[in-house]
Amino acid sequence: MKYVEEFADPEAARRILGRIAARTTRRWKIMEVCGGQTHAILRHGIDQLLPEEIELIHGPGCPVCVTPIELIDRALAIAARPEVVFCSFGDMLRVPGSDGDLFSVRAGGGDVRVVYSPLDALTVAEDNPSKEVVFFAVGFETTAPANALAVIEARRRGLTNFSILVSHVRVPPALRSILESPDSEIDGFLAAGHVCTVMGDQEYRALVAEFGVPIVITGFEPVDVLEGIHRVVAQLEAGTAEVDNAYPRAVRAEGNRVAREMIETVFAATDRAWRGVGTIPDSGWRLAPEFGAFDAELLFEVADVVAEEDPVCRAGEVLLGVLRPSDCEAFGTSCTPRTPLGAPMVSTEGACAAYHRYGRLGREIGARP
C-alpha cells in the first residue's frame, strides 16, 4: 500500500538506528503506550536492534486487555439471552470472563457474531428486526468515533433494536496514573498516533507541562516507531521535555474536529475500572444520558454480575509496564494463546501475545529444546 511500505524501508530504518546510537549516552526507559506499537516493535525486532541502554516498556494501550472482567461477564450474560444477537470485534471472543468466554456462549447456542465495524452491527439490526442486536463497544479514542457514529446513525434510521455495551477508555488519564505512581521509572513516552489523529495533542501538552517528560506522537510502521524513539532520545539527551509530532502525515494539533464533536455529543466522561489496574478517575466514556435508549447496560439487567479474576494472572503488572510478559511464571506454561489466563495473551494488541508470537520467551522457557 502506498505510504505504508515506504515507512517500512530497511535503509531508512538503518539510518535512524544509526542516529539513535550516536545520540545515546546513558540508560533510558521509554514506554510505547499502544499495543499496536508493541506488536510492531517485537515483529520487526526493534527491541533487539536498539542500543542496549534503551529499554522499551510496554504500556496499557490494549483495549481488549484493559476491559474489566465485570464487563466481560455482563457481555457473556447478555450474549446468552435467546432474543439477543451479540456483535463484537473478533479478539474479544476469547477473552476469559469469570466463567467462560464469548466462544463458549456461542457453543452453548448464543448468537455471537464477529463484525469488522460497529456499522456492520447496525446492518445486522436492520436485517433482524425481531432480535435485540448488541454491539460490544470497547476501545480507546481511536474507536470512539466509529461507535459514536453507530449510535447517531441508529437514532437517525429509527432503529429500536440496537444498543451498545460501552467500555471506552482514554489514554491521557492512564498516562497520568503511570506518571503519578511511585514505582514509575518511565523517562519518555511514544504516544499512540491514531489516538492523536482523533483527539489532537492538547491533553499531552498538559501532561508534559505538569510532569516534564517528553511525549512524541508516533506512527505504527517500523520506521515511524524508530523515528519516535529517536525523537524521545534526542529530547532526553538534550534535557528538554515537549510534545513532538513524529507522525505529521496523520496527526494535526487539533485532531479530527468532526470526530471529536461526535464523541462529545454521544459520550460523557466517567471513572473506569481498568482490568488488573484498578479504577482511574475520569478515564473513560459512557453513553450520555440522552442516548440511554442505546445503552445495553440499562436495557439488560446485568449490573449485579459478580466477577472473579484468575489469581495466577499478573496482567495488571504487565499493563503498567512493571512486569515483562516473559517474566511471569504462567507465561508459555499454564497461559498460552490457546489457553489464556488473561486478556493480554489473547488480544492482537496484547503484550503477552506479542512476546509469545515473536518468540521473546525468556531465558528459562527459551532454553528448552
Binding site: E6, A22, A146
Partner: protein, 69 residues
Amino acid sequence: MECFTDRGTAMGRVAFGSITKDVCLALVPEAVVGDHVIVHAGVAIAVLDVDTARETLELFAQIDFGGEQ
C-alpha cells in the same frame, strides 16, 4: 477511492493493497476521490497528508549513514 451514499451515510470504496472495502466517510467530509484515508473499525478517521508524508521520507533519505544529519 470512490464515493457513494448508503442509507444516507457518506461512504467510499477504498483499496487496501489488492483488496477493496467500503468504509464510512462521515468523519472526513473533506475527502475526495484519489485521497488516501486512515481507516479504523470501518470508519475513515483522517485523510493522509501526502505532501507531509513525502517530506518526512525525504528527511529520512538525507540522514548520513554514520548517524548524525
